[in-house]
Symmetry: C2
Subunit: 632 residues, 2 copies
């Protein structure tokens, strides 16, 4: 089994000999060690008590250079096995000008040395509440040195009024850095107490947690006297490993806690956890390699899908099973047992034929007689359909090569079956296609699907923000993406936006094409109460679809069809990360708009505080479909 | 006298004949009239009471076209003399899908017609509290039609809890439009009552008020029975005319208020106001043509100033008067009456010699003997100095061609005089220059200036935001500009940031050049309590300088030297407009930073609500001087 993360050792006191520390740690099962760059003696450069003469100090300030004896990491030989620690006496936000200036010089000196000896990462000490100058200095060094900088952030701060005080401080720093500084991450430090609310733990899944520090005192002793983590700690650590794959650093105590609490015992426990991570489920196996990557939504109406795309989606174990159940139930409801009536089923957008097979199986299973008409506009898929008819289906299936919005059938059908949904339900233009196709359907006919609903939830994800930002354009922040979420945190449960129902007799004159598409426009608002201070990077979108009566397919997290992998959620970014203070209400306004050539979405976000005052309103995203639209 | 704005007439009921309305209005002193585009009959397209058959309505929705009888403005012949009004029954944010959709179609129809007949502007009715869909539709039409769209906004809303409710609604709309939509402005409507707080009136100076509507009932009758505005109304209207030059629209009553309240009497009163606008002061005359335009700050250390630049600044009536007073006072303090002592005055950065003349006048006036050494590094200015010496000054002045940071004098001076200040005090590197020059100064010598302080205030200005945004780059939002403010509103009074004092014996060893420039770094924070909901587009910067003792020059609004025009304020933009809710505290962090080659500023803005919760923090602006710096 491959281990996703490395295990490191942060000794309780600075080593005198780094080489032997590494050897010893290796024997105890550690891949690397964490060591201060400089000795405590280096603090003299602050000159708080005149340790240096004015001249000596002035010379250092002008051209800072290490005295060899100030360094613990005085050689590049161990750099592959070592993470550095910045000195913890550095006070970048001191009100004292001299201490602040000398702290900056000292930090830059340590950072440049760490970069010189090729360290891959350096841990910055726990932040004070004042972080503005700290942010400026970290920003400055992050542009000039090669190592990653991880800010040490305890999960809970002792005595803090709020459980997320440390997150707020980290968030303040990260916002000052401008959100897109990928050189700076988090070294999260586990604490004995955990936040009261699960969502305060989940928030860290949306953050760039590169390292997890586990102090030994967080472990408890099990029945056999071995150090283990409590169940809640275990769950959180497993979730972090599963989603973020951080390196894990064990920080042993300065005194032995109990006989079996050896350095080796801690790392053995972490390795044990690694071996007992949950097996990936079907969806995760399918999505492997796609987590958090941005995919452009398919446009099957404008583009013809490729053979491989059909092949992948036909493998879904759940989707076609649900379609089969829906057709089966519709046949039972529509035709009496032992009747000779032949039910006409029209499959519109038949692709390579999976829904035709569903219908045939449903007919066989229900003992009803059917005739199937399969309509397809993609000439390449149509070849596969012809093969299937010739080799398997025979007379039971009639093939039609046509666009369902324009074809004029000779006879009407009893059941109209389609699979035109996108991740947001209507975003692949199912409503427009079925508006055209419903004239094939008898007045009392059944459309499968019968209805589908789009829903949304505000989402935090530092990773998705940076993936979008990498495109460096306004339009990339106004384009929805299909994304298998992993390093994200939903700020609230999803809320429904709007529903489409089929057939739509209310808006469309019988047997005619719709006069215009105004009835497929939608405007809705969803409100979300956000309990804690949070950051919002965009909007997660889902659909929930009734195929027929209570037979559904859904990717809404609250009703997700187990094991169905055909749809990942959709992600609508926002122009800038939005700061949300606790107990605020986030209102997301969403539009589905159309003109003669296209369909597009617009969205905007408003935040009201608990007094009902509007504290933020975004600009409209994607006005007029300027950045993204779906062609009709 | 030229009249800056046109006067228009908005009749109290729609005209039956636009042509004769224009003729009559012209006779009464109006330049244009304001007329609804469509008749009230056009409302039937909402089909609220089935005025149209379903088929008829469907046809209209598909291809909206005017029936000629629906139009009031049915011809292009008057377009130069007419401003349009959108129908006031249009409800873009109705909860009813049909009313919302038909309202959008009707509004687009009116807008496209107005554009077709070449109107220059259309007024949109007073906004409801719900504005999201309204914003979307206005945004959409503003990109396709040519007329300006002015949103009608009453100054006060009857019965509203807050005096700035209507501004908040406008601000919500404008923010949704994305701040940079210059096609949409404000038609501000004066109300009988005015907001309680002067700043709530001044906020409108920062907004794109294109038109001011004055309803007749706002006028009062004076002793002679003529309609006039009360003093507070007058002051506000004059201020608006002076700064924003809006067109003014008179809206007469539906019944005669009193015999002399004729249409002509209102327009005559406005013309009277125009004639009695305050005369521009010296600074305004000098700044004419520069209001709100962004100028790059001078870099006189890196670049050599041009002759014309010297010539303009030498004309300042106040600055050199203050320098003369300062030298005069220093001479009196330093040398006894009738003493034979010759005081050596060194003018560093003498330019074309204005300070040399100040010193000579001060010596003459004080009856003290002086010798002046004039130092200049600009070879072109040095030619002018040589002419002055040959023709006027003679032996009283010695010229030196050198950079003050490097020159080594033979003798030291008693008084060191310089004029190196920029709009922000230290931004043209006065501290660095005087650090080098102070070694010319005797131990008990006097530097003129003695000290200078930079101060800042948060600023709103839609116009400045758009001027910066026109550059379409991040760096333009991280560059300070020298600006003569006009269409701005200061959110609070300025606060001091930091001070430089000269000579600086504390940080610089006597007679030597400074070892490094760390002592000229600064970091400070200024806090501002903002009383009302506001928007912030950037930071205004000023300086206040003590030349000698209480003899000062200042551009800080609270202490501005009357009539001194040499410096306009400086403006530091912020990346995005910042929404501020009432009673919040805006904290501006500011840094002055240096390295071997350059000096630059960084800044960031945080907002805390009245509970002390941080509701906003900006990213660092101009980190590392990436967008703007001053070369050493």
């Amino acid at each position: 089994m491959s281990i996703p993360c490395s295990i490191g050792l942060l000794p309780n006191k600075p080593p005198t000999d780094v080489g032997s520390l590494i050897e010893k740690a290796d024997l105890d099962g550690h891949d690397f060690v964490v060591v201060p760059i400089a000795n405590p003696s280096f603090r003299r450069v602050l000159n708080e008590n005149n340790e240096m003469s004015p001249e000596e100090h002035a010379v250092w300030k002008d051209r800072p250079v290490f005295d060899r004896k100030d360094l613990i990491l005085n050689s590049a030989e161990w750099s592959g096995k070592v993470l550095g620690l910045f000195s913890d006496w550095i006070q970048l936000d001191s009100p004292n000008h001299n201490i602040r200036t000398c702290s900056e010089l000292a930090l830059k000196q340590e950072a440049e040395w760490a970069s010189h000896i090729n360290l891959t990462g350096i841990i910055f000490p726990v932040l004070d509440k004042q972080v503005h100058n700290t942010a400026r200095v970290i920003n400055s060094i992050s542009t000039t040195i090669s190592p990653q900088i991880c800010i040490r952030v305890p999960l809970l701060q002792k005595g803090a009024v709020e459980d997320n005080m440390t997150w707020k401080t980290w968030n303040r720093l990260r916002t000052l850095l401008g959100h897109s500084n990928t050189k700076v991450g988090v070294a999260l430090e586990l604490t004995s107490e955990l936040p009261s609310d699960e969502r305060l733990l989940d928030m860290w899944l949306a953050e760039p947690v590169r390292t997890l520090i586990i102090p030994a005192h967080v472990f408890v002793s099990n029945a056999k006297g071995h150090p283990v983590l409590t169940k809640p700690h275990q769950n959180f650590v497993k979730k972090l490993i599963h989603k973020l794959e951080p390196d894990i650093i064990i920080h042993p105590p300065s005194v032995e806690l109990y006989p079996s609490a050896t350095d080796a015992s801690f790392s053995q426990y972490i390795q044990y956890l690694y071996r007992h991570l949950p097996e990936p489920d079907e969806i995760e196996k399918f999505a492997s390699g796609y987590f958090d990557s941005l995919q452009m939504p398919l446009q099957p109406l404008a583009d013809n899908l490729e053979n491989q795309t059909y092949e992948i989606f036909e493998k879904d174990p759940i989707k076609y099973q649900q379609y089969e159940r829906a057709v089966y139930q519709a046949l039972l409801d529509r035709v009496e047992y032992q009747s000779d009536v032949v039910t006409t089923i029209m499959v519109v957008g038949a692709g390579r034929g999976p829904l035709v097979n569903c219908c045939l199986r449903a007919a066989e299973h229900s003992l009803r007689k059917v005739h199937i008409i399969a309509l397809e506009k993609n000439p390449n898929a149509y070849v596969t359909l012809q093969n299937a008819k010739a080799n398997v289906w025979g007379d039971k299936v009639t093939l039609v090569f046509a666009d369902m919005r324009k074809w004029k059938p000779k006879e009407k059908c009893d059941i109209l079956v389609s699979e035109l949904l996108g991740s947001f339900g209507d975003n692949e233009l199912s409503p427009e296609c079925l508006d055209g196709a419903q004239k094939f359907l008898k007045d009392d006919g059944i459309s499968i699907p019968t209805s589908y609903t789009a829903s949304i939830a505000p989402l935090a994800s530092s990773r998705l923000y940076n993936n979008v930002n990498a495109y460096k354009s306004l339009s990339s922040f106004e384009t929805p993406y299909v994304v298998m979420f992993r390093q994200v945190c939903s700020l609230a449960d999803p809320e429904d936006l709007w529903t489409f129902e089929h057939p739509n007799k209310k808006d469309i004159p019988t047997d005619e094409n719709p006069v215009n598409n105004l009835h497929n426009e939608r405007y809705s608002r969803a409100d979300f109460i956000i309990q804690h201070d949070m950051i919002m990077h965009g909007i997660a979108g889902y659909f929930d679809c009734s195929l027929y009566k209570d037979i559904t397919i859904s990717i809404n997290p609250e009703t997700h069809s187990p094991g169905m992998f055909s749809w990942f959620p959709i992600f609508f970014p926002v122009h800038q990360p939005i700061q949300i203070t606790k107990e605020s209400m986030v209102s997301i306004h969403f539009w589905r708009l159309t003109d003669q050539q296209k369909v597009w979405y617009e969205w905007s976000v408003a935040v009201n505080n608990k007094e009902g005052e509007e504290t933020y309103v975004s600009s409209l995203h994607n006005p007029g479909g300027r950045s993204y639209y779906v062609g009709l």
